[in-house]
């Protein structure tokens, strides 16, 4: 496993040596949504496709630049170098403008649209070991694991090395699901179900976000795939399927009361309580998530309290209204939510 990966890495570095100096950042492989830093065999093929296309493209652009420069350098002289006239020029137009593109584009067509296409397309469900269902909402992601009770939001945990069948749907408008380091995009369209295979070859957090303009807060609709070892994944999934932990301090108990009595429970579900609404994200294990508001804010005491008091400040237009809550109530709510691991 390690051998092939570093072999692939070497190949990539070798390709990168061919690059002009214009893209230093890409070559170092950083950028959390860098599609050229693949973490899956599928994305590796797409990245290779890019590097080759880019190399050929630079060559094509250099040829055009050369011909323009030649026109300028020979502006005082008529005819082509070597004395060619109209007939030679027309032959070159046909050769470079018709024949060369037919050959190179046919090759690209076969490689990309038949081979890479096949390797990266929607999986045969029997070839996968796990199905995850993602539903786009304005402006967050609902994540379900069919066959279990697990529901979460904006964080998609998958085991490293497994082929995961990701099923995408939408609850309202069109969204687009893309994890740049893992595979192609799929649009989430009303009345349709699109699928993609996710197959992380290394552990890590792979950021993505909505890529189809979906209204006011399209900019704040992030999500993350968390690829972890199969054992950790199993433990996580088992925990997600459980009901919420009962409050253990009086503060947390007050928080739960507030949650159930205030408007919170009108939209959110906390399994194991009387809050069953499914308008907003499921909060049964909200404290286990790294961020809130679809990767808009880190999930910390201060940001969580700020979010509860005024969601419209950081995400104007978000469907969650600002509630008129008192300070102690907010503190209790935060204490309760932070106990929901």
């Amino acid at each position: 496993m390690t051998g092939t990966r570093s072999g692939a890495g070497r190949a990539r570095r070798r390709l990168q040596l061919l690059l002009p100096l214009g893209l230093p950042l890409l070559a170092t492989g950083c950028g959390r949504e860098n599609l050229l830093d693949p973490a899956s065999p599928q994305q590796h093929k797409i990245a290779t496709l890019w590097w080759v296309m880019m190399g050929v493209a630079w060559f094509g652009l250099a040829l055009i630049g050369f011909l323009l420069a030649l026109g300028w350098l020979r502006r005082k002289r008529e005819g082509l170098p070597g004395g060619g006239g109209d007939r030679v020029a027309t032959a070159l137009v046909v050769g470079l403008g018709v024949a060369a593109p037919i050959v190179s584009l046919s090759a690209l067509f076969v490689w990309s649209d038949i081979f890479v296409m096949r390797a990266t397309s929607a999986p045969n469900p029997s070839s996968t070991s796990l199905t995850v269902e993602v539903t786009g909402h304005q402006w967050w992601w609902e994540v379900r694991y069919p066959g279990t009770r697990a529901v979460t939001a904006n964080e998609i945990h998958i085991p490293v090395g497994a082929r995961v069948n990701l099923v995408g749907k939408t609850a309202d408008v069109i969204h687009s699901f893309w994890i740049p380091k893992l595979n192609r995009k799929i649009d989430l369209i009303p009345g349709r179900t699109n699928r993609i295979v996710l197959e992380a070859t290394r552990a890590g957090r792979f950021r993505g976000q909505c890529y189809e303009y979906c209204g006011l807060q399209h900019a704040h609709m992030g999500m993350e795939v968390v690829a972890e070892s199969p054992a950790r994944f199993r433990a996580w999934l088992a925990n997600m399927a459980k009901d919420a932990a009962a409050p253990s301090t009086s503060m947390q108990r007050q928080g739960r009361e507030a949650f159930l009595n205030e408007a919170c429970s009108g939209c959110h579900q906390i399994r194991g309580t009387d809050a069953h609404a499914r308008v907003g994200p499921d909060l049964t294990h909200v404290a286990s998530r790294a961020t809130i508001a679809a990767l808009t804010l880190p999930n910390e005491t201060g940001t969580l309290a700020g979010w509860i008091v005024d969601p419209q400040h950081d995400k104007p237009g978000a469907r969650m209204p600002a509630l008129d809550l008192q300070g102690p109530e907010v503190q209790a709510l935060v204490a309760y939510l932070e106990s929901l691991r």
């Binding site: 055009i64 020029a89 192609r184």
Partner: protein
């Protein structure tokens, strides 16, 4: 018995009297002169270009750094929607067809006007009214905010109860009438009003490009209009075309939209190709290499362009067979473009090019078009398309096409035909300076967008967080945007100053080979005192034919001095076959446009009965303008 021919001056004065239009503002309101209407199109679309440019600068300033709050999401989304809608519908297309096509096609054909002068006037007034209509939304706080592509269900009432999408949809239906009218006019003119002898194989390549663009406009607009009508029926009358629960589909919108949207790209760039194929022979001082192939390529681009629309929809989950078909068609559409690029390049190489400002813009156009074309090819590689679609990589790609490949020739064309339109020369030194400023600004604005896109930056976001590696590229793009703006302002200043103080240009300062250079600068209202006869592909270089035309003027042949008269010619070989009586100035086109505006405004506010009544009045006004005009 022979009547002695009066001298040339008298003949010209007679034509002047016949073709003279009212002076002053009223003259501009009632004009049917294609040159004046072309100028109206030019300045109006330029004003919309400025509006779209200001929107772009606000967008770029907001995105200069992460987490900026210069404007909120609502304003940003309105600006982003209006920027796209403005630049495509209110700037590039009316500039390419309405301004350049309108002004130049009759001159290049040796004609005195477009085939339907009053329709041409109507087309302008509708364009102006539709632009103001769409912008009214923005100014009354109901600006379209659903993106220029207006995907459903986001654009449905359920998700967007404002009037924004209605301003957009009705405004674009309205606008489509203008483009359709112009296109009909151009196609008819190119087929029927060519000077005797200008058989199709001698038709200037500029006119081939206009013909291809206008012809495709006629086919691509109906799908858009249909789509917009369905949208309005659903928004205003409760239909369910796009509603899944009622058996409709949001995919219907996308298919119809891109069936319009992709050919629209060629509608945008074809006039620019035409400008390029005018500028290159003039400054290379030789005929185009492979001219028949270039003409064929211009027509083929427009044709194949209708078979590639679904490459805008590769990630919607279409069946593989459909994906592969549209990818293959997309690869095919590359070939006519490469033919043209090499034909331009080898023409420059074969000749002894003089690198004056218009040729510089054309050179930059070739570079930008190749960059945008190469990244465009990559979108036919489906897996890569599905990775980069809706990222800034796409934004980079289509700005290289629409700004680099369509606007650069337009800028070059502005310098090239400036002496013809104004009779004065522009300042060459400042023009070159403004070229380099515009060129470097464009490269700096749009090239880093490729990298931001590969780093995953999505389109149409009003802000972005720090830490994703996007900050530096965005800052560079914003700086580039301001450099680009400085270049454009310098161009405008040069042209305004030269209009007032420039040296007199004479009829043909660049020794251009097409017929517009065979008449005075600026051309008289009737364009040519004597309708030229054409004996070659480059009549402007045919001194013998030009001399013959002057002799015919002296002898009083071919001046058609009895009324607004214009010879017609056979479609293929341009044998003279009839003489048309052209209409003169009229206020009816303005009246029809005003009534149509009122009709759209009433539809917008859901006063359907009143809108129907006004539509009837518009019909009556249209009938009134067809009334036989009094004899001269």
């Amino acid at each position: 018995m022979t009547v002695l021919a009066p001298p040339v001056e008298e003949r010209v004065e007679l034509l002047d009297r016949i073709w003279e239009e009212r002076p002053g503002v009223l003259g501009w309101l009632t004009t049917v002169d294609h040159k004046r209407i072309g100028l109206l199109f030019f300045f109006t679309s330029l004003a919309f270009f400025a509006a779209g440019g200001v929107e772009a600068l606000v967008i770029r300033t907001q995105l200069a750094g992460p987490d900026q709050r210069l404007v909120g999401p609502q304003t940003f989304n309105e600006l982003m929607t209006m920027h796209g809608t403005t630049m495509i519908f209110l700037f590039v297309v009316p500039m390419g067809l309405g301004a350049f096509g309108n002004y130049l096609v009759p001159l290049m054909l040796g004609a005195r006007d477009l085939a339907f002068p009053r329709l041409n006037a109507l087309s302008y007034w509708i364009f102006l009214a539709s632009g103001l209509f769409i912008y009214t939304g923005l100014f009354v706080g109901q600006g379209p905010d659903q993106g220029w592509f207006s995907y459903v269900p986001l654009a449905l009432k359920q998700f967007d109860p404002s009037l924004g999408p209605d301003f957009y949809a009705l405004g674009l239906i309205f606008n489509g009438l203008s483009t359709t009218a112009t296109a009909i006019n151009l196609v008819t003119t190119i087929f029927k009003l060519r000077a005797p002898g200008m058989s199709l194989n001698r038709l200037p390549l500029f006119c081939y490009a206009q013909l291809a663009a206008a012809g495709s406009a006629l086919i691509l607009l109906p799908p858009l209009t249909l789509d917009l009508v369905l949208l309005e029926l659903q928004r205003k009358a409760g239909f369910h075309f796009f509603d899944v629960a009622a058996g409709g589909s949001p995919m219907l919108w996308q298919h119809l939209f891109w069936l319009f949207g992709h050919p629209e790209v060629y509608l945008i760039v074809l006039p620019a190709f035409g400008i390029t194929t005018s500028i290159i022979p003039t400054f290379a001082k030789r005929k185009m290499v492979a001219a028949p192939l270039v003409a064929l390529a211009e027509l083929l681009v427009a044709f194949i362009g209708f078979g590639v629309w679904a490459h805008h929809m590769f990630s919607t989950g279409m069946p593989t067979s459909a994906l592969v078909f549209f990818a293959a068609a997309t690869f095919m559409v590359v070939i006519p473009s490469t033919v043209q690029i090499y034909a331009w390049l080898f023409t420059v190489n074969l000749g002894r090019p003089e690198f004056r400002t218009p040729l510089l813009f054309v050179g930059a156009f070739i570079v930008f078009f190749v960059i945008g074309g190469l990244s465009g090819i990559m979108f036919a590689a489906i897996p890569f398309d599905q990775a980069t679609t809706d990222t800034y990589f796409v934004v980079a790609h289509f700005h290289f096409i629409i700004f680099g490949a369509a606007v650069f020739p337009i800028l070059g064309g502005m310098f090239y035909w400036f002496p013809k339109v104004t009779g004065r020369m522009y300042h060459e030194g400042w023009a070159k300076a403004s070229f380099w400023l515009t060129f470097s600004g464009t490269a700096l604005t749009f090239f880093p967008m490729h990298i931001a896109g590969l780093l995953g930056m999505p389109r149409r976001v009003y802000t972005y967080p720090h830490g994703l590696g996007w900050d530096g590229y965005n800052l560079a793009e914003t700086i580039g945007g301001f450099i680009l703006t400085a270049g454009l302002v310098l161009i405008a200043a040069n042209l305004v100053f030269s209009r007032l103080r420039g040296a007199p240009a004479g009829p043909n300062p660049f020794r251009g080979p097409t017929l517009e250079w065979a008449t005075s600068s600026p051309p008289p209202p009737y364009n040519f005192a004597v309708i030229p006869t054409v004996r070659s592909e480059y009549p402007g270089w045919d001194d013998e034919a030009l001399f013959e035309d002057r002799r015919r003027l002296e002898r009083g042949l071919g001046t058609y001095p009895d009324g607004h008269r214009q010879p017609e010619a056979t479609v293929r070989d341009a044998y003279p076959d009839d003489v048309a009586d052209m209409p003169s100035e009229s206020g009816w086109p303005v009246a029809v446009a005003v009534l149509l505006s009122l009709m759209f405004a009433l539809t917008l506010t859901s006063h359907f009965v009143a809108a129907g009544v006004v539509a009837g009045l518009a019909g009556l006004a249209a009938a009134a303008w067809l009334w036989k005009e009094p004899a001269e």
